[in-house]
């Protein structure tokens, strides 16, 4: 395993010169050739650990996610990775499978000199714990919270306008004449679920409608929840006449359940899906759905983190709230 010393010996130049050249410095043309040759001959490449020990930078950022089984997060992270890569950073991803202890452990592993910055999709971590991690070892490590906010914790944050988006979707169903509008949301300790529920409630208040709490069901943001809760709604004595589903997996579950029961979404029952362009945009009737700016989320998070990595603290803590789009079919 060859080192920079081997290159120095091979070329007859000094360590310092090789290092300088490898880091983009100028050397004489003849030496450049010499070094290039030696590097090729010895199959040299710089030792990452030594480099980051010396420079205290890793040019790496850590991404910590609740799960790898939700395509939404995959797409966001993919865009984040692209943004960071363009700036010379490598993204390293890990997931904690919704487990509180793991969430902390993974953050700690990263924070310990392995990464220059962090992106976190938080689930159960507590503000005080997070505080101690980003101030770890008296060094502030830049962190961006992604998709979700954390109460009582100020931090750079990229989210979408969850409240408005369910407000708008519900409003659409209201103006279409539906009155018994049901909603399936995620676990309420997750900010997205909570905000989406508030939007749903607020618009009905604004329209002078009393919300029937039986029309609110809380799922786990997964296929099974969507499938099961749709059936629960349809089995009610007085089923809802319309339904809003608030994430992708639950939308797919709902569509599957509807198919099985022979319920025709959009005609038999008013319907708004989520992130399910595939599913909603092709069928007849076209179904309205909410679309999150997935790629943009990753990109914005990356840009914000890069800004912090350059030491620019302007506007900290910054909250970037991106607009979702409500796609309503033109003709119903």
């Amino acid at each position: 395993m060859s080192t920079i010393k081997d290159v120095a010996r091979h070329t007859g130049l000094s360590l310092a010169t090789i290092s300088k050249y490898m880091n983009g410095g100028n050397v004489l043309a003849c030496n450049r050739i010499l070094i290039d040759e030696a590097v090729a001959a010895l199959d040299y490449s710089a030792n990452f650990s030594a480099q980051s020990l010396k420079t205290n930078r890793t040019k790496t950022i850590g991404v910590v996610m609740p799960t790898l089984s939700i395509p939404f997060f995959g797409t966001v992270v993919s865009a984040l990775d692209k943004t960071m890569r363009a700036a010379g950073y490598t993204c390293l991803i890990t997931c904690y499978d919704f487990d509180r202890e793991l969430e902390l452990e993974k953050l700690r592993v990263f924070a310990n000199n392995r990464v220059d910055g962090l992106v976190l999709v938080p689930e159960n971590v507590m503000p005080v714990e997070l505080e101690s991690i980003i101030h770890m070892r008296n060094r502030d490590i830049p962190m961006v919270l992604l998709d979700r906010s954390l109460k009582d914790f100020s931090c750079d944050n990229v989210v979408i306008d969850n409240l408005n988006i369910t407000y708008e979707a519900t409003e659409r169903l209201l103006t279409d004449g539906y009155r018994r509008i049901a909603i399936i949301v995620g676990p309420l300790h997750i900010s997205t679920a909570n905000e989406r529920l508030i939007g749903y409630r607020r618009v009905q208040n604004d329209y002078g409608i009393t919300v029937d709490d039986n029309l609110i069901k809380i799922g786990n943001y997964d296929f099974e929840s969507g499938y099961r809760l749709f059936n629960e709604f349809m089995d009610m004595e007085e089923p809802p006449t319309a339904m809003i589903i608030t994430n992708y997996d639950m939308t797919v579950g709902t569509v599957a359940a509807a198919y099985e029961r022979g319920v025709n979404l959009g005609t038999d029952i008013g319907f708004v899906g989520f992130d399910a362009m595939d599913l909603c945009n092709v069928r007849k009737p076209l179904l309205p759905f909410i679309e999150q700016p997935t790629e943009l989320m990753g990109q914005k998070a990356g840009e914000l983190l890069l800004k912090r990595l350059l030491g620019d603290k302007e506007g900290y803590p910054q909250l970037i709230r991106l607009k979702s789009r409500f796609h309503a079919p033109i003709v119903r």
Copy 2:
């Protein structure tokens, strides 16, 4: 940012003693207390770069995937992570978005002193390139190929019995009396797709049936392919009477398309889905489907890698081929 030196100074002990204790060595009870106190007071934890520079180990393995948007891979990796974690290793994940250059770059980044081992789900990388990466810098770095095999490249490998599983599924449809059985497979340069197609062909040969190549369609393992190709099949002059779909996303696409067209899977048309327990196991009629041992794949890959990391070269290159299950409803 405190170092082991600070702990030494704070306790009055030497560097060597602190280091020994931090690595599980024995020290006097009084010194243990002293060190624990100092570590807490100074918020000390070992510098990862220095540690791995010195020991030449990172206790980390790199996982390189085609995409993060396919839940199947997420589940596999989650199980892999669990296995490695239990053995004191950290998994770092990255994806290359189906891009050949990126696939190579990500592997190189990892191979450069950042990880002790590699797990790769290969797509376009060439054997010779892979060879040069795992022998990088004259150091052999253990690697396990996951889910897919690579022609002309011998390496530890964990896959499923793709051929048998489509053989069995097709055979079931044959014995149920179907004769125009269609199949939707993935891109044929991916070993899973290729093997699944071979199984489909072989059983029909064995039954003396001439395969109609119009009944074979090649998708991209995504929702859109399943949706589109199902429609293409149904729009044929003489549509197939049964259909086998060979991954999860395409199965969901197919189910969506069937729903939209009012085609009743399982009654109007024979059907075998893939990995779609959710989707297939709930509907009436129950649909047969193929189930991959997702968790087991991750676990086996982890165990094999751990064995290599311990220096045990027994049986190299080892091919672990896991059995899938064909779930057929008992009553049709």
